[in-house]
Structures are given as C-alpha cells and as structure tokens.
C-alpha cells in the first residue's frame, strides 16, 4: 500500500518542478512563474502536514521512516562504500519539513506583493531561484545520510548566491552574493573534509539505523561511534585516540554549520545578504539556509553527544555569537540590518542550547524563531514597500496608524523576539537559557568541570544578550512605527494588499501562539501535561534519534549532568532583563522626536558601527595573508616546478639539435659509425671483463 512516506520525496520534488516551470515557461505566465511556486509550495505544505500527522500517529500508530531509495555508487568488495540517496522522516524531520514548507509558501505569496506588484523585471529567474531554494532545503531536511545532506547543503548555498544577487545590475547585491557564497563555502570546506572523514572512519553516513522487521540492516554512524567508544567495535581513527578523533570529526562538520548558520567568526556574510529582495531574506534567515546549520547539528546530535569537548565548543560559540551580534544590532540604522544581526544572535542561542545538551530547547527555538523571524522580515518588507524601498529607520516614524496590520503583526513578532511572555520567543529562549544553566551547574561538580564552566560562560553571555535583544528590537519598533512621521514618504505610507497582509496575519498569530507547544514553566507550576514538543521529540519509531536516547547519551557518554533547579527563577530573570531592555528602549526612543542616542556611546559606537572591524580583519586576512601566500605559491609553481620541466625540455631540444648533425644521409658514414661503435663496445667489454675478472 502506498503510504504517505512514498510521497515524501515529492515534498522536495514539487518545488523543483516549480523551478523548472518558472525557468522555462515563467515568461509566458501572467504572474511570471509565481503560480507554479505558490501551487508547489502549497502542495509541499499539504504533504508535510500529512507526514507530520502520520508521524504523530493521527492516521494510525505513530511511525517513523528511514530507507535508501536510490543507490548511485555501489561499492564492490571489502570496505567499499555504497553511496545512496534516502529519506529519513522522524519527529524532528517532520517538524522541520512543516516549518520550511509553511514559510516557503508564505514567502511565495508575499513575493506576489513585494516583487510582482512593484513591477520588478526578471521575475521568472526570481521564482525559479525561490523554487530551487525551497526544494534543496526540503531535500536537505529529509536526507538520511551525511553525504546527501552535504549535497543539498551546497545547493542551498548556490541558491542563496543566485537570490541575494538577484538585482545584479546594482553594485551591492553581486558583491554581497559573492561574499555569502565564499564565506559559507569556506565553512563547507571543513564540512566536506568532515564528510570524507566520517565515511573513512565508519564506512557509512547514515544518520539513523535502517531496520527491517526489527533487525538492523544498516547501522548509522553515531551508533557505530558509540560502540567504538564503548570498545564493542573498532574503527579507523588515523592514529588518534577514539574520543579525540570523534571530536575532530565533529568540529570539522561544525565548520560547515558555523558558516551556514552565520556563527562567529563566519557571520559576516549575513548582514550583507540583506542586499537581496526582502522575501529572500525572510526565507534565508528564518527557515532555510541559516537554519540548515543548526538542523544539521540536531540531525547528527547522537554523534556530537559522544564528544563533550565539541559540545562545549558549540555552546561557547553560540553564547558568544548571541551576545556579540546583539550588541552590533543596537546601533544599526536600517530595518533589515537590525533583523540581520538579531538572526545571527538568535541562531547563537540555538547553538548554545545544542551545546548545552538542550536538544528540545534548540528545536523549540528553531521553530519559534522561524515563525517570528519570517514575520519580522516580511513585516519589514511591507514597510519597505510602503516607504518606496527606503530602509533607514530614521526616515520612518509614525507608521502605526497608517499600517495597522503591519504594525500589530510586527509588534507580535517583536514581542516574540524580545522574549516577552506569552509570545513564542519567551518560551523557547527561556528554555534555551534554562538548559544551559542547569547543565552548566550540574556538570560543574563532576569530572568534566571544564565543560561545565564553558557552558556557564555561554549561559552568562546568552543572558546578557537578552537585554540587548529586547532593547534593539523595541528601538526598531519605536523608530519605525511610533512617534511622528519624519519624512513625506512616511506621512504618505499606506497599508499593502492582501498578498502582503495575509502572510503577516498568519505568522503574526503564529508568533503569539507557537510557544504554547512547550510551556515548561507553566507545566511545572500547574502540573499539567502540556510539554507537547518534549513528548513529540521523545517518541518516534527510530529509537536512535529520540530525546530519550539523547538524554542517556548526554549523561553516560558526554558526562553532562543536570542540576536540580526550578524553571521559574531563571525564567523570571530573563524576563526581567527583557523588560528592562524594552523599558530602556521605551524611555529613549518612544518619544515624538527621537534623537540618535548612540552618540553617547562615544568610541564604542564607532566600534559597533564597524561591526568590531570583523570585515576589515577578514579582508586583511584575505589580502594581507592569503594573497601573498598565493603569490608565493604561484611563484614557486611558475618558477621552480615549471622551470624544471621547461629546463629539461630545452636541454633535450638543444642536445637534439646538435646530435642530429651526425645524420649525414651518407650510408658510408652510418656504416663507419656502426663499426666504430661495435669496436668501442668490444673494447669496453674486454676492459670490463678484465676489471671484473
């Protein structure tokens, strides 16, 4: 019987089809290819919903699915690798499929208002890019092995390049597109080495074991790794200690994650990527490309749990990025720039949660963030349409009354981002910080106290970032929507049509309510069974990817313990900080005529406006170190390597031109030469014979 799982590949195939249709027939369509994209993503959304319901057990017993569908390299002989494309659907993948297809669908609808109604040209190319982007991301989500994930990871990067550089005739977008591509490629390089390393070590890239009637037919690499650590299996570790080698592998793959999820120090591409069309920003930064990195860590979490060192690095990078990016967001003047830095910062929280063993918290924040960040970007897009593509917040003001739908939905997203109860962001961010705190405290007393310290450092930075997040979020809201209109464009702004307000409304309601799927503090207070996401991730047909397994591993292998601590206290602290941030923003910017308070920061402002000179130092790294190095290598190649080859050939040419003179064309000469040579040879033989004899 054809179950829903047979249709899972179609979730990605539909947008791919839309890509082809938009590319080849888009110009003949009344909406220039948008129809194909909207219908395809609606289909994907339907299929994803069906899949999620099946995984949840609404259509029968709760199941999961993991199968290889197509083998494209068949290994022959011992130790040969077999490479396949396959589908893995477990609660995590089903949830992510739902999020990605929902956001893509809404972004496609929004594009009708942002691109079509604004009379943009080149739309078939735009919708083709959007379709391919969605298709690659969806395929990445249901990949069942690391190599397939890598392939679609790369495709996502390619599409981001195409879409960010959509307005290729301007100066900014092509260079931003190149930067995004190169910076993420730099991370992906490590990922590729990691993929090769995983295959070389374990001989498989499967995320979860494939079972057939209860018996395991193909083991997954996290499992093999676990057995190897327990001494039940042996793997090739290239001369390193098993645990150390796994940490190295984990950190190599993490390189790709840091690039794609825009974590420090590879975050510099993301703010520049704002040069792309706003719906693209919403898609890239809410649910797809940037989420891919975090999702990858969650996907192979069973492997990362084997290495507490790698976890600590993840947590530290995440916590640091959360704070670091939040401080930069405080001084930005452009709407989308603020959102860009908040994206970096929020993904830092997810990394912090993953590093701290808060798998559920990370997935939760991934979910809520996808909703409210897509909302904020689309809201920003709505404002940008009304402001005739002016993005500087200082030219806005007072849009509240003229754009009510945009304002209230944007406010909902902002409250969620700032982490104000009861909006989505509060619940998830609170849980992230809570997990970091309890695991940090718990591990501090064990042998792995170093890891515990790092987790607590990450927690402290994340907590501090809450204040900055709330502050810059509401600075943005007040500057954009409150006070008096500061320009004519802001005075004449009007609300947009349904294709803009409909996605905003859907996401606005989502941003207010998504958090209810996992209200841990409330559950603790009332004792009610409402931690739906916890239950969702804890069950599933594949034991190896459930949180039950993960919590065992976290305790047994990684040695990370949880301290006994109520969720209410830490929640109250982070809420108080968030409210303090909102209050500060309120006093400084919720006035009829706000002034640039950033000048009071003095030298710090210069530092923040220049993004801590991250771009400068990376450019210096490229021009000051890499270019001379490349030049030296070039000189070595041209001079020494080529020189030797050329020298040998010219010596042969020269000797050849001299030696050919003996070819006189006279038979007599040849005969004489032969005779003389023979005589010479005989003499040599005689002499040699005497010496030897």
């Amino acid at each position: 019987m054809a179950g829903v799982y047979d249709f899972v590949p179609a979730i990605a195939a539909l947008p791919f089809l839309a890509f082809l249709v938009s590319l080849f027939f888009g110009r003949y369509m009344p909406k220039r290819g948008a129809e194909a994209g909207v219908i395809a993503t609606a289909g994907s959304l339907g299929l994803s919903t069906w899949t999620a319901l099946t995984v949840a057990g609404f259509t029968g017993p709760a199941t999961s699915y993991n199968a290889n569908l197509y083998t494209w390299v068949q290994g022959v002989g011992d130790g040969a690798l077999t490479l396949s494309l396959g589908v893995l659907v477990d609660p995590l993948a089903a949830l992510m499929l739902l999020i990605v297809s929902l956001i893509s669908f809404l972004v496609h609808v929004f594009s009708l208002g942002y691109m079509n109604d604004e009379g943009e040209t080149g739309l078939p190319r735009y919708y083709a890019g959007l379709g391919l982007f969605t298709a690659s991301m969806l395929a990445f989500v249901f990949s069942n092995n690391l190599l397939m994930a890598f392939m679609f990871f790369e495709l996502v990067g390619l599409c981001s390049y195409l879409l960010i550089g959509f307005w290729f005739r301007d100066d900014g977008p092509p260079s931003a597109a190149k930067k995004a591509f190169l910076v993420t490629r730099f991370g992906d390089y490590f990922f590729l080495v990691g993929v090769v390393g995983v295959f070389a070590t374990f001989g498989t890239g499967l995320f979860a074991p494939i079972t057939d009637g209860g018996t395991v037919v193909a083991e997954s690499f996290p499992q093999v790794a676990e057995h190897a650590l327990g001494g039940e299996a042996s793997v090739e570790t290239f001369g390193l200690e098993t645990g150390t080698w796994f940490t190295v592998l984990g950190l190599l793959v993490l390189g790709g994650v840091i690039g794609k999820s825009a974590q420090f120090p590879l975050h510099t591409w993301l703010p520049d990527a704002m040069e792309g069309p706003t719906p693209v920003s919403a898609l890239i930064h809410a649910a797809t490309m940037v989420a891919a990195g975090v999702y990858l860590v969650a996907r192979m979490y069973g492997f990362y749990l084997l290495s507490p060192q790698a976890l600590a690095v993840i947590a530290l990078v995440g916590g640091f990025t959360a704070l670091f990016a939040a401080t930069m967001g405080v001084v930005k003047q452009e709407l989308k720039q603020v959102l860009a830095y908040s994206t970096i910062s929020q993904y830092g929280y997810m990394m912090l949660a993953l590093g701290a063993g808060g798998y559920t918290a990370a997935v939760f924040h991934l979910t809520t963030h996808a909703v409210f960040k897509a909302l904020l970007f689309l809201g920003a897009g709505s404002v940008i349409i009304a402001m005739h593509h002016e993005e500087n917040m200082w030219t806005m003001g007072g849009l509240k009354d003229r754009m009510p739908v945009t304002y209230y939905t944007f406010l909902s997203g902002s409250l969620a981002l700032a982490g104000i109860v009861p909006f989505a962001g509060f619940w998830s961010k609170d849980e992230v910080l809570f997990e970091a705190l309890v695991h940090g405290l718990g591990t501090l007393e064990t042998e792995a106290s170093m890891v515990g310290t790092l987790l607590l450092v990450g927690y402290a930075m994340g907590l501090l970032a809450v204040f900055f997040t709330a502050f810059y979020t509401f600075r943005m809201v007040f500057l954009t929507f409150h006070g008096d209109a500061r320009t004519d464009a802001a005075r004449d702004a009007t609300e947009n049509r349904w294709n803009v307000t409909f996605p905003l409304a859907v996401l606005g309601i989502g941003a207010a309510t998504v958090g209810f799927i996992n209200m841990v503090p409330v559950a603790e207070l009332t004792g009610a069974e409402i931690e739906f996401l916890h239950d969702w991730l804890a069950h599933g047909g594949i034991d190896a990817t459930t949180t039950e397994t993960y919590s065992e591993l976290l305790h047994d292998v990684a040695g990370i313990e949880a301290a006994e601590l109520g969720a209410l206290g830490p929640g109250a602290v982070s809420l108080a900080l968030a409210l303090a941030g909102v209050g500060t923003a309120w006093t400084l910017y919720n006035v009829p005529d706000p002034v640039e308070q950033t000048d009071k920061l003095g030298g710090l402002k210069t530092l923040l406006v220049h993004n801590y000179y991250q771009d400068e130092y990376q450019v210096w790294l490229a021009q000051g170190v890499t270019v001379p190095l490349a030049r030296a290598a070039d000189r070595f190649d041209q001079g020494v390597v080529d020189g030797v080859v050329n020298g040998i050939s010219s010596v042969s040419l020269f000797t050849g031109s001299r030696f050919r003179r003996i070819q006189s064309g006279l038979v007599t000469n040849y005969a004489a030469l032969m005779t003389l040579s023979l005589v010479l040879l005989l003499i040599v033989f005689v002499l040699a014979g005497e010496v030897m004899g």
């Binding site: 050919r660 070819q663 006189s664 064309g665 006279l666 038979v667 007599t668 005969a671 004489a672 005779t675």
Partner: protein, 101 residues
C-alpha cells in the same frame, strides 16, 4: 686429418674485414651489396666451423637459413638499386643523401 678450427676463424675474419672495407670505401651500391654478401658469408663460415668443432648440426642449419635470407636481401637490394638508378641516373650512394634532417 682435419683442419684446425682457428684457421677457419681466421679465414672468416679476413672475409669479414674485406667486406667491411668494401662498405667503408666504395661508392657504388652494387659493390655495397657484394660487400654485405661477403660479411654474411664470413658469418656463415663461423657457423659451420663452430658446428663442426662441437659436433652439432644446429650451426649448419643456421647457415642454410642465412643463405636463404641473403638471397631475399639481394632481391630487395637489387630492387632498391634499380629505383636508385632511375631517380639519380646512377648508383652512387653519396648522391642519394637528401633523406636526413
């Protein structure tokens, strides 16, 4: 009473040297061919002499083969000489010296 093998070898060496001298000094292609024949036959004498010395027929059989080969070589050689004559109006090998670098 049989002749000592050394004499055969001396004879053979003498015939060979005469042939070699012919090749190195003459300019006519026909004399070339004849000199080559002399050298081949010097080798034949060696074959037969050693065959006789060791009481082994292999060398004699080889000399038969060499004679057949020499006949074939002469056929080819005469053919070349004919063409040489047609092209250069003579059979002087120093004239035909253009097939070189």
């Amino acid at each position: 009473m049989a002749v000592v093998t050394e004499y055969y070898l001396l004879l053979s060496a003498a015939v060979f040297c005469i042939g070699l001298y012919g090749i190195l000094t003459r300019e006519s292609a026909l004399l070339f061919l004849m000199s080559v024949e002399l050298m081949l036959n010097a080798a034949n004498i060696n074959f037969v002499a050693f065959s006789f010395y060791w009481g082994n027929l292999t060398g004699q059989v080889f000399s038969l083969f060499t004679m057949a080969l020499a006949a074939a070589e002469v056929a080819v050689g005469i053919g070349i000489i004919l063409v040489l004559y047609r092209n250069f109006e003579g059979i002087d090998v120093t004239e035909a010296a253009t097939m070189r670098w």
